[in-house]
């Protein structure tokens, strides 16, 4: 009787004993509970990463469906090859050519969204405890993937020119001294999610050299490359490397639709072969229907015109958000000025915890992604990611006004508590009008918490 009357969580969480060890690493946090509230309709959410699909012409959609029904109904309803349909690969080749890359059909696999590429590459390369190098901050959606495969993620700081490749080399040296060799470097070089910055051409060249010198793979995640609002694009890492150490992730999510779940991976043949096996196990093949829709879409209309129209919409939204930030955020805040993509990264003073700030912001029906989502090491607690593609300009202005108000409130309160001067709103914002300001990107170096840990 005595032992049976003692019930612990092992008995009560009936299923917990059945879970694989890797599920224990999957993060569950207060932040996730807060994010559940952001989905409510009255909330202006600058938290998502949603492209605007509202301007896609319904006529085109109908024509695509019509064409598939008339020409390839049975095929659309059937399984397809694991590596994808040749017709789709031809469309992918067009998209890659638009960014200055040439690819042969046999060098790529069509995947279920770009997200599957991160999963398959990690599955192919990482044993528990293996090192993955990522940017700090990194794409929040990659965090659960790396965690699920029990990767040890080492994050390298960035500035306005993207990943600090000098720091990367220091990190690689340090790891080597510890007898550890990373398997791959994960990077979003253009309009990074979440930081909004783009890796400069010299850094790109150096990164590719480092990969060759150290015989390391690089996963170049490039969902936003074609969503450029100003300036000239630097060359993709893949074109600099020629496909020796660089693997490339592309997607139709931001240039056509995330709903069709279509992405692709380019990798050296031996790696691609393993990825193919992993893909077979995961889902046999990418949706044939989606693949044929892309093919029909490329036949039916000019895909680049649609990308161009999206670019117009997003550029205006980005400008609106930058203006609103300058108008409503206190001078202690800093933010990036992306030349493309979907996100702006804001860094606040150390004493503001953006997860708590989100709770306060939700009372005013506005949401953002707290910076901690983009780090695996507890950093980023004073930063936030803002999305400008998924809301219209009025919502962006109002959303930023509300967030600015709560940030200002907390800055003032902190000033009152410490006897320091209060917040001042800048009237002529340096982030927009001072071109030198573009080069200032202070991504969080250390959190208040880690500083505390050192007992300072």
């Amino acid at each position: 009787v005595p032992t049976e009357s003692v019930s612990t969580s092992r008995d009560i969480e009936r299923y917990a004993g059945l879970f694989a060890a890797r599920t224990k690493v999957m993060k569950s946090s207060a932040m996730r509970d807060l994010m559940a509230v952001t989905a409510r309709p009255e909330v202006i959410s600058l938290a998502g990463g949603l492209p605007d699909t509202s301007t896609f012409p319904p006529d085109t959609f109908a024509a695509i469906a019509q064409r598939i029904a008339a020409e390839s109904c049975a095929k659309a309803l059937q399984y397809g090859p694991t590596e994808g349909l040749d017709e789709t690969k031809a469309c992918i080749a067009q998209v890659m050519a638009a960014e200055g890359m040439r690819v042969a059909p046999e060098d790529l696999i069509v995947t279920t969204g770009g997200q599957q590429v991160i999963d398959l590459v990690t599955k192919t390369l990482i044993d528990p405890g293996d090192v993955v190098i990522a940017e700090g901050p990194t794409y929040p959606g990659a965090v659960p993937v790396f965690s699920a495969y029990q990767a040890d993620v080492v994050q390298v700081d960035m500035d306005a020119d993207g990943m600090r490749v000098d720091l990367l080399e220091e990190t690689l040296d340090r790891l080597e001294r510890d007898g550890r060799r990373p398997k791959f470097i994960y990077t979003v070089p253009s309009f990074q999610n979440p930081a909004g910055v783009t890796m400069s051409q010299p850094r790109r060249s150096r990164l590719v050299e480092v990969a060759h010198e150290r015989e390391l793979l690089v996963l170049e995640d490039n969902p936003y490359g074609l969503l450029r609002y100003e300036g000239d694009p630097p060359p993709p890492l893949l074109s600099l490397d020629g496909g020796v150490y660089v693997m490339y992730l592309g997607t139709f999510s931001k240039i056509l639709s995330p709903g069709i779940r279509l992405g692709w991976v380019v990798a050296p043949p031996p790696v691609l072969e393993k990825i193919n096996l992993g893909k077979q196990a995961a889902d046999l093949c990418t949706s044939t229907l989606s693949q044929l829709m892309v093919q029909a879409y490329f036949q039916e209309s000019r895909w680049r015109d649609y990308v161009e129209s999206l670019t117009e919409v997003y550029r205006a939204r980005r400008d609106t958000m930058l203006d609103a930030l300058a108008d409503h955020f206190p001078r202690q805040a800093e933010w990036t000025r992306p030349a493309g993509g979907l996100f702006i990264w804001v860094t606040l003073p150390d004493f503001i915890d953006t997860t708590d700030l989100l709770a306060r912001a939700l009372r005013d029906n506005v949401a953002f992604v707290p910076g901690e989502a983009a780090f695996l090491d507890g950093r980023g607690r004073n930063a936030m990611r803002l999305n400008f593609s998924g809301s219209n300009e009025d919502a962006i202005r109002e959303g930023i006004r509300r967030i600015g108000e709560v940030v200002t409130e907390q800055v003032d309160l902190y000033g009152t508590l410490t006897g320091e001067h209060a917040s001042v709103r800048v009237e002529s914002p340096p982030a927009v009008e001072d071109p030198a300001g573009d080069n200032v990107l202070r991504l969080p170096k250390r959190s208040a918490r880690s500083r505390r840990a050192e007992g300072s």
């Binding site: 003692v6 019930s7 559940a36 004493f351 503001i352 915890d353 009152t416």
Partner: protein, 312 residues
Amino acid sequence: VSRVAVLKGGRSLERQVSLRSGARVEDALERLGHDVVALDVNHDLISRLRDAAPDVAFIAMHGRDGEDGTVQELLEILDIPYTGSGVLACVRATDKVLAKHLMIEAGIPTPEFFAFSETAFRELGAADALPAIEERLDFPIVVKPSSQGSALGIKFARNAADVPAALVAAFSYDSRVLLERHVDGRDLAVSILDGEPLPVVEAVPTGDGFYDFEARYEIGRTEFVCPAELPDGVTEQAQELALRTYRLLGCSAFGRIDLMLGSDGELTVLEANPIPGLTETSLLPQAAEAAGISFDELVGRIVELALEPAPA
């Protein structure tokens, strides 16, 4: 058989937990043969309640609106019987400052504290009193919002430099915050069902190193032991203190009182939860199970209590 409206979700920060509590309660009610209407609480709550015309409302909400007396007040107006504590008990329990003052007045031990509104800092210069408070309470000091039910916004200030940021964080959740003496010891919870204390649950942090303070509030970093293995007499003492607190605040039907067993062997009451969680891993269902009461029985009993005529 009754028609039961299960109220869940809402816009509280504990929405997610509430949805899970609610879903589990709905399943139990259906197994018990009740006619169940699930309502995710929203702007149209009143009209949907009128349409549903339930015999009783099961409030499976946590935090703001559900636990602070708001929904209870609305149900009073609609004359729909509801589960758990009434408006006044919810108001008293959710307001930690009020609850702690009542405890002190009634001689129930609770960690020493000071509470301030945001206006006290902004307009009355309360910041100047911080050094005196810090001296009185000793570090680390627990800083928490007065009304937030879950662990959100609770910070541990290890030194004077940590206090302002901890206060800013706590004020994100409420316009009033407490600075409380940190009690080093064991976390205990006593659930009460129909005026009877259930076996004590101990929450044991499984984390290690520096963040042990935070560990107890992080899912998966805590293990629960029920009944807690406590020194002679401590179980009874904890249950008695919990029951006194429950009665003091005027709770009815069920509730949960959180206590600390200090390393000095002294018990103190931290707070009362009028609607504790009802998920798979929540403490009230665990305690009930340890007392031989299944989840279905627990839910059935809570509904019966709501339908009993109020004592005149």
